[in-house]
């Protein structure tokens, strides 16, 4: 069997993919110093030789050969053993140097055009992930599966396309719209940036002119005789002006946002009910104790409360140096002496005097649940 060596077979660059040429022929690769595998023209003879491929079989050949062979209509691929019929129209130059990558990208593009569901189309994330997995498997089959696998994958792809034609079309349109929108947004941003730049430039220009004018005025003043006053005045004026520009800008921006906000409100007021629900009555200042009252109800905190147990600490430098307040201690002791005096656990936990019955029920349910859990875990 006569076989033409693939274009990259010789030369240093070919060693990467052609290690096992004898068992399985490697993909044809394009390198700059190639020779056209069809007409054997080398670049030396034709400086602007260009290699084209056809996505039918990805066999590369020079543009001259393409013109020569396919100008008169469809023809067979000139590579030996390749029986594909190629057309002139299908030829293009490869984007990637490695044609395997080129092919994979083409396949992926084709698959993505058909399987173009978005995450929103699925009920759960898991469904979406399953879908992605399925698509990826299919792609893999197409890219590097065997003949049979490729055929089934093709069939699946075709079936899906036929079945979901409308959906695919819709998604494609949506995707295009999204693209279009983002492009428009980008363009608008770019415009705004340019606008800003131009304005800044103009402002700088204006300022420069102002400075020159001031300087002239200053010189005039000097010529007239009252130097100090004139210079200071001009300086001040200029500084003031510069500040003014910034202030003006700020004011403008504020007005702009206010207008925008007003527009927002106006737009959202259609869904006024929702708005209203979002803003309940003002809550007032935050109360870390959630409304607990710390004024004792049953006892009065007398001054000069004391206990023999704490008397000895009142002269202890270790306690008084640190600023320990014995009133704190007495207040706490008094609080503890009376806290919960009117809490009747037996009644409250049974019938809920202090609490509502629902609270008691949920509490006991919680207790039971926790009890169960503890026993079971």
């Amino acid at each position: 069997m006569s076989r033409k060596a693939p274009p990259g077979a010789r030369g240093a660059g070919a060693s990467t993919s052609n290690g096992t040429t004898s068992s399985a022929p490697a993909l044809p690769t394009i390198s700059t110093e190639d020779m056209c595998p069809v007409c054997k023209t080398i670049r030396y003879l034709n400086k602007d030789m260009e290699f084209l491929i056809n996505p039918e079989c990805y066999h590369s050949m020079c543009s001259n050969c393409v013109n020569r062979l396919f100008n008169d209509g469809p023809n067979q691929c000139p590579y030996a053993g390749c029986n594909r019929t190629l057309r002139r129209k299908g030829f293009r130059s490869a984007f990637f140097g490695d044609l395997a990558v080129e092919r994979e990208v083409d396949i992926r593009r084709r698959v993505a055009a058909v399987f173009n569901q978005a995450e929103d189309d699925f009920e759960t994330l898991r469904d979406y992930n399953n879908y992605l997995q399925m698509v990826e498997d299919l792609t893999f089959d197409l890219v590097s599966g065997g003949e049979a696998q490729r055929r089934t994958a093709e069939a699946t792809l075709g079936r899906w396309e036929a079945e979901h034609k409308a959906e695919i079309e819709r998604n494609r349109k949506a995707g295009r719209e999204a693209d279009e929108q983002s492009r428009r947004r980008l363009a608008a941003e770019r415009d705004a940036a340019r606008q800003r730049r131009v304005e800044a430039l103009q402002e700088a220009e204006e300022e420069k002119r102002e400075r020159v004018r001031n300087r002239e005025a200053e010189l005039d003043n000097l010529a007239l005789g009252d130097a100090g006053a004139g210079a200071g005045g001009a300086q001040r004026v200029q500084l003031k002006r510069r500040g003014q520009a910034a202030a003006n800008r700020a004011v403008e921006a504020a007005v702009h946002t206010a207008v925008a906000a007003a527009a927002d409100v106006g737009r959202l007021s259609i869904r006024g009910l929702k708005e209203k629900k979002k803003a309940p009555a003002p809550e007032g200042p935050y109360d870390p104790f959630a409304g607990l009252d710390f004024v004792p109800g049953r006892y009065k905190l007398h001054t000069g409360l004391g206990h023999p147990g704490i008397d000895k600490y009142k002269d202890d430098p270790a306690h008084i140096t640190g600023g320990y307040s014995f009133d704190e201690y007495t207040a706490r002791a008094m609080f503890e002496a009376f806290a919960g005096l009117g809490v009747f656990i037996e009644d409250e936990m049974e019938a809920g005097i202090g609490l509502s019955a629902g609270e008691v029920a949920t509490m006991s349910a919680g207790i039971a649940a926790v009890g169960d859990r503890m026993e079971l875990d």
């Binding site: 693939p6 390749c82 049953r298 009376f338 919960g340 207790i367 503890m374 026993e375």
Partner: protein, 420 residues
């Protein structure tokens, strides 16, 4: 509602660990029943081990080769027996605390921890002799006294302090992470201070009463269920009334003075001297300004209710007065009451949970295994639990779409057709 009561109702002691006697008994029954069921199940699954409980080590042992077929299940402890054992071990805990010269707060906190733990956990499930030290050690930390575990172990001649650490998280779980225990000790001080401002109270009598009440507080409420049923102030007043009933009533009438306070009956049934030796101080409360609210807080109605509660608490405490301390370490009592129960306990304890160190190790391993598969249900520790996690891991991304063979990357298969 008085503000003090509202504040007390915010505490975890009230919200999580206050029960009426019936509910507490119901919870204990439930705990007991659950423990019985589980231990019976475990014991029957380990037939050879169930009568080989002489050693405290658990299931790690090799099964006996003598081939004894599943023996009858042991006799389980009843809830009252369990309660008695818990009481006994509480007294042991207090004794251990005395031995280590811990403060009253620590001992009380540890005792409360211990009793709370054994409300939702059966004494047959986790070893009380171990949990007692865990509670003590954790009580130290809860009260802000941070002893080192080595030192703590040395105090009690434990050569393996890890045993204590192993139960710590378990204890916390059992406490439902409510670490703060409100004690009546400081409340007693407060009551004394309040009483000391009264003109006609003898200081010596007050000091004696306080001393006695403190002694009661150090033992009686800890070894009974008082902490579950009463608030610290009620316990304190009950203890005070055990020491000196007159003083308590004086304080009560002083406090709940709203409408027409009943005639002063201070010292009516106490023999202590009530000489009017203090000059009338200016701190005496002014006459109450009448209002519905005041009547609710310091009216006679609520006073009667409080007095009734204190009386009930007093009766509870009177069952375990400090003099009973010796009762629980008395040889005859031990032999008659506790030893049989402990023997029984050694026969019916949970084989998987008895060794805390082993249990902690197993649980950690399990936790590591199912760290990322949340749906793995809590399975019993042991060999069976390890198997079901591997299956769960695979389905994180959903079930397989279709059975597929392993993919092989066949780049060298020419996808473009035959060779040139």
């Amino acid at each position: 509602m008085a503000t003090e009561d509202a504040r007390y109702r915010q505490s975890s002691q009230y919200q999580l660990w206050s029960f009426s006697p019936t509910r507490l008994a119901a919870m204990r029954d439930k705990t007991n029943a659950a423990a019985r069921a589980r231990i019976a199940e475990r014991l029957s699954s380990l037939p050879a081990l169930s009568n080989n409980t002489s050693a405290p080590t658990s299931s790690a042992n090799t099964p006996n080769a003598d081939g004894s077929s599943t023996p009858a299940l042991p006799e389980f402890l009843t809830p009252p027996e369990e309660a008695q054992l818990v009481t006994f071990f509480t007294s042991e805990l207090l004794r251990a605390g005395d031995h280590a010269e811990m403060s009253d707060d620590i001992k009380a906190t540890a005792a409360a921890f211990f009793r709370r733990f054994y409300v939702t956990n059966s004494i047959m499930t986790y070893p009380p002799q171990e949990m007692l030290f865990v509670a003590l050690f954790f009580g130290c930390k809860a009260e802000g006294t941070f002893v080192s575990i080595a030192e703590f172990g040395k105090t009690f001649d434990r050569e393996h302090p890890e045993d204590i650490l192993a139960g710590e998280f378990l204890l916390c779980q059992g406490l439902r992470f409510a670490i703060d225990v409100k004690h009546p000790f400081r409340a007693l001080r407060g009551a004394t201070m309040e009483l000391a401002t009264l003109p006609d109270i003898d200081r010596n009598r007050l000091a004696a009463a306080e001393h006695r009440a403190r002694e009661v507080l150090r033992f009686s409420p800890l070894i009974t269920d008082a902490y579950f049923h009463y608030t610290p102030s009620q316990i304190m007043l009950a203890a005070l009334s055990l020491a000196d009933r007159g003083l308590t009533e004086r304080l009560m009438t002083q406090t709940f003075h709203h409408v027409a306070p009943p005639p002063d009956n201070s010292g009516a049934d106490t023999p202590a001297s009530s000489g009017p030796d203090g000059p009338a101080p200016a701190t005496k409360r002014g006459p109450p300004r009448g209002s519905e609210d005041k009547a609710q807080i310091i009216g006679p109605h609520i006073r009667d209710q409080v007095l009734g509660t204190i009386e009930a608490c007093r009766n509870l405490l009177a069952r375990e007065l400090p003099e009973r301390r010796e009762h629980w370490s008395d040889r005859a009592v031990l032999k008659a009451q506790v030893t049989p129960l402990r023997k029984k306990l050694s026969k019916c304890r949970d084989p998987d949970r008895w060794n805390l160190v082993e249990l902690q190790r197993v649980r950690r391993e399990q936790a590591a295994k199912r760290a990322d598969s949340e749906e793995a249900d809590p399975a019993p520790p042991g060999a069976a639990a390890a198997n079901n996690t591997a299956a769960g891991d695979g389905t994180v991304f959903g079930d397989a779409l279709a059975p597929r063979e392993v993919k092989r990357r066949r780049v060298l298969d020419d996808p473009f057709g035959g060779p040139l």
